[in-house]
Subunit: 306 residues, 2 copies
């Protein structure tokens, strides 16, 4: 057992998966949960919490680890509510997809003697809510932590141990660098996927049923990443605005260069560009981040030549 | 047996998969192959062709079905070469990802009495070449045919039978509509994926190794669709220019609206937009075009919440 008592604030996909994983590994003595919705609390009590409470303040009482697993936009209010009820020496972490905004919102409300170690599990599915969690969600996935120079090494080591025993791999990095990295590898790809799905939705000459029928030709991968929780993604874009706008600007420039090459019929440019991007794909396969199987490791093959 | 003799011109992923599928189903009497490269011909002879020839003209001699499986940009030259050597009553089809450009390039070279039925198997992997084919590539995938009003119904029925027995589902549509549909579901998604991968490649502050390491957070799906054959994709964009530029223009407009909402901090707009795109995803799952499993049907889970 790593923490005698863990409080989960917010009981969606990530928190419920953590609860299942902690139970499976015997990592927590007691798991206490709080969510705004009474229905969510009832489901959590039934499925994965030892106890649920009617307030966040009550949930964190005597907890050794407090996990803030609410949308990024709600972190500040929750921190204000629990700050004075935290046990001295407790560790507080969060699971938000951006870190600077969370640090700004949460840190001012936490008393001295509480260890705040912001975190970001890079794991998820397109489903949300308390019934969507499962114990293996974090298996082999990255979980980024953004400790500061003053973070207590022992508190950090303990949290890292919990995360690793839930199956994830831990990396630590600077708060600002985290937000830029995730803008590149996650936030902007999501913005783009949402946009492409939106374009298809607006087409009049190509029917919705055609888009759906032939989606395996490339479009399907966009709908998959455009299907995650709307509230979470709204908050991501509102709170990681600077990095997202930076990368989106670069993307628009790059897209216009490609568009111009298409318009001018510049085949050499296109061929060279596509050859370069292919090399990046090879790097990802070599790094073990994906399978090279012809069916991309899926049960149902998904072709790309459409 | 559906065709006594089939000639495959071009011996890459699609042609080699067709050969494997035709063999597995006993659908062709003899499979003759031609490719520009002597090395490719030797591999084809070893792996899946009964016979290879030194010229395309020789390969199509007495063939009942001729399949043009070369890049779209090479179709016209091949058609000019084989036109006078085709057997009267033979069927000619192609497997190009665009159809109007192929019809324009090929049809003028075909003599009367030869049935030209353009086709587009919506199947593929990120691999290319004569060793990349496998018999089940077309299983449950769409194979679009774009016959004209004057297409011989018997010739069409026979080709359809071959395709269905290779495991694919056939749809027929108008040439121009085909090119617009694939621009939406395939060509523009590919252009965008290539662009995003290109942006990541240019970043200085985020290292290549970070991009690769954390790619599962959404970026990986982009690299997957940005990894296909560069020559094929160059030709796709050069030959389906109008439809691609039309959809890319809409995409850029839509992206700017999203970008502006992020800049202005318009959370209501973002939430409403993300909720709408999520509904399209549901439609694709309901249509059986993808799995709803938490791991998206992959062996290795790929999260989206990064």
């Amino acid at each position: 057992m790593i923490y005698p008592r863990v409080a989960l604030i917010g009981l969606g996909l990530i928190a419920s998966s953590m609860a299942h994983a902690m139970r499976a590994g015997g990592l927590a003595g007691e798991i206490v949960g709080y969510a705004k919705s009474a229905e969510t609390r009832a489901i959590a009590k039934e499925l994965f919490c030892d106890r649920v409470t009617d307030s966040a303040a009550e949930a964190v009482k005597d907890a050794d680890l407090v996990v803030l697993a609410v949308p990024v936009g709600a972190m500040g209010a929750i921190a204000a509510e629990i700050g004075l009820h935290l046990k001295p020496g407790a560790t507080v972490t969060d699971v938000g997809s951006v870190k600077q905004a969370v640090v700004d919102a949460v840190a001012p409300h936490l008393p001295a003697g509480v260890h705040f170690i912001p975190g970001h599990p890079m794991a998820g599915t397109e489903y949300s809510g308390p019934r969507s969690g499962f114990a293996t969600l974090f298996q082999n996935r990255w979980w980024l932590l953004t400790p500061s120079e003053s973070t207590d090494p022992q508190a950090l080591a303990r949290l890292r141990q919990l995360i690793e025993q839930m199956g994830a791999k831990v990396d630590t990095m600077d708060v600002a660098h985290h937000d830029l990295v995730v803008a590149v590898v996650s936030h902007v790809p999501h913005a783009i996927a949402y946009t492409m799905v939106g374009v298809a939705d607006h087409m009049r000459r190509v029917s919705q049923s055609e888009v759906i029928k032939y989606s395996a030709a490339g479009f399907r991968d966009f709908t998959r990443i455009a299907a995650s929780d709307p509230t979470m993604w709204r908050d991501v874009f509102l709170t990681n605005k600077d990095a997202v706008l930076d990368i989106l600007g670069r993307f628009a420039e790059e897209l216009f260069v490609l568009q111009r090459a298409i318009r001018m019929g510049d085949g050499d440019h296109l061929h060279a560009y596509f050859t370069r991007t292919r090399a990046i794909r090879r790097g990802i396969i070599e790094a073990g981040q994906d399978t090279a199987a012809p069916d991309f490791g899926r049960a149902v093959p998904t072709g790309k030549e459409g």
